[in-house]
Symmetry: none
Subunit: 223 residues, 4 copies
């Protein structure tokens, strides 16, 4: 479910097969994501996924054990794109934990904005997954939040954030990012994505930043 890294330019017979498998799975997941996101898991039929992916129903079953597994794949794909891109964005923010937090939050919001409806899928249809699927999802979600959590931990350790429960603070960041998709219908006419990010960053940081460092992060704290 990860995209080929391009290293296998010289493909043996197995490599060819692996590449095709990968491509097929990508086709299926892309089709399923599009449809499920638009119509909801239960309203999407295997046939419609097959049509969208331009293959036959039967073939889908060569790559996924069933409809649920496809849902899992779609959700995992979205979560993976968080897991991939957030660390990247945070890296470019440098070493300062507060700046890292702000960058992570921004990246989170931006990815959500790009996958606004796909992001909803995980929440909306998560219950449809079986136990194992739900666990996998939860783990990935946790992994996704790890970089942010670490930055928060650092910030606390360096005394930049005070009176903060790391875990709760992290989840607050995540939920406020997700709110952009959850309440998009309401906010879209009031804020641009950028305004939203700015305001919410300020909201979160002002609540817990060490008063003595406020000046240093002035630009993050004011609108």
């Amino acid at each position: 479910m990860t995209i080929s890294d391009g290293s296998d330019v010289e493909l043996g017979p197995d490599g060819v097969q692996a590449a095709r498998t990968e491509w097929r799975m990508h086709q299926i997941l892309a089709a399923a994501a599009k449809l499920m996101v638009r119509d909801g898991f239960h309203r999407v039929s295997m046939q419609s996924i097959a049509d969208e992916a331009q293959m036959s129903v039967g073939l889908i079953y060569r790559y996924f054990a069933g409809k649920q597994e496809i849902l899992l794949g779609v959700i995992v794909d979205v979560l993976n794109s968080f897991a991939d891109r957030i660390p990247q964005s945070m890296q470019t923010a440098g070493d300062d934990p507060i700046h890292r937090i702000a960058a992570g939050f921004r990246a989170y919001c931006e990815i959500i904005d790009e996958n606004r409806e796909a992001a909803l899928l995980a929440y909306r249809d998560g219950k449809t997954l079986d136990r194992s699927g739900r666990e996998q999802t939860m783990n990935l979600e946790f992994k996704t939040s790890q970089p942010l959590r670490e930055a928060v931990t650092d910030a606390v350790a360096q005394g930049l954030l005070v009176d903060v429960d790391v875990d709760l603070f992290t989840y607050n960041l995540l939920i406020l990012a997700q709110m952009w998709s959850l309440k998009y219908w309401h906010f879209k006419s009031r804020f641009s994505l950028d305004e939203y990010i700015k305001r919410q960053s300020a909201f979160v940081l002002r609540s817990s930043i060490d008063p003595h460092r406020r000046r240093k992060y002035q630009d993050l704290l004011t609108l």
Copy 2:
């Protein structure tokens, strides 16, 4: 959709009928809520609702036009209990806007805790509703948040909260309350409901309260 208070009022024939109707609708919604919350809207069959409600399928259709209408009923019921109880709680908090906000937030969290899974239903299966149902839900949701929104408005007007967008601040309150149900599986082992409320209240208020009034609300701002 409120239950008869059981007092033996002398009921006319119409009253008896109305009471039965009310009772039947309650039975159906209670059964449906229980099952849908546990299994998700699409996994619950009309037959299973009928079984749970101890009546026949046919009878359900005397009270609800279809399965969707039942979902709407369940969601509306939850939202109504917000609309009923939050103003009550805020009233007992007195006139101070900050105290009113804190009381409203607490009430919100408590009701969510009581209807933890039912609350999820509104988010999870809201998309299943048709346009009219979605509008009804959204309106109720807005109405629910009105008292909080007004208190925030007052607080801003009185200079108690600064640099705040009323609408966004209100939604932040709501989403942080809802997070208790959304991430309950994660938080339950870390916080009691009361701790959660305390911490989140402090988190929210600290971010925007006028620095000069911090002392006055000391008890709300520290853990």
Copy 3:
């Protein structure tokens, strides 16, 4: 299923009851006829009949054993109105068999025109009846045609019609009358009822009337 003849002005307790029964049955049949004729037997629910008849479903079952029995009643009612009115019309036509036939045919067409759709019901939903109902219907239908059949018999006996099979000729008369309802959608824009009757009478009579008597019935044979 026949209407009270008014003789029981002084009603004993039984008479009162009989009158009510009659009235109720009339209400039900009238309602059912209206609806079944409009929508077809299977599309009409007992509830809708009850609504139309302004009584409860339960009450209908006091007067009819079931839905089928109502259909039978409706059909029988229509057939009875043929059986009642055709002899009347033929009587006023005097003694001449040809004139009686023409009068009977006219009456038949006119009644059908008045009950255009009800007439269809017998044909359309006749198959729905059980064996006993079908027999009853067929017998009544036969009885309906008796006066015409007798007039045809007379006409043949008097040499007015030649080379005619009485039974077939009679049925030809009936079917050509019924055709007014069967193909009404086609004919309505081409003929008035009166034109239709005139043309079809001429058509039928010309085919079999004794050439020597043609002059006598000139007005019936030309358009």
Copy 4:
């Protein structure tokens, strides 16, 4: 809706598929016709059609959009067999319009006799079709009658039939043919099909044929 002639033509893959489709549709329509004709449209369940056709319910829906469409298919099939065979029969009758009319009428009666009950279906359950189905049926019915109508037109033009409304005369022919199925229960013990045809042909033609040509068509006019 025509059956493959069984010749082992080399079929491309598309041909095989088309043949199967044709065969399946035939199976379904044959089963449906049999059952609907016997029990009436509304008493036949999709399951019973599937059983009779020896396939699963689901498969039926690959070939027909719903139950109504099957009814339409059955009716259309019957009407098509009229549209196919009547012109054939009339062609073999030569150029004389009167002979063509007689041949067309005979063919009509014979096809009705072969599909006696299926023919009833069109009349009995026609109302069940939706607007589009009814229009399609009516158009086909009209098309079916076109050859007869043209022959009648010719006969009138050539002065063979006099004082005749072409349209009405044509419908009279049709209804008298259909009467064979409508009143079969009555006629079967009185006439053979052939007798019926002879008598009705004579009946119809005698009514309108030009007296000067009677001798020429003597064999058609006498029994």
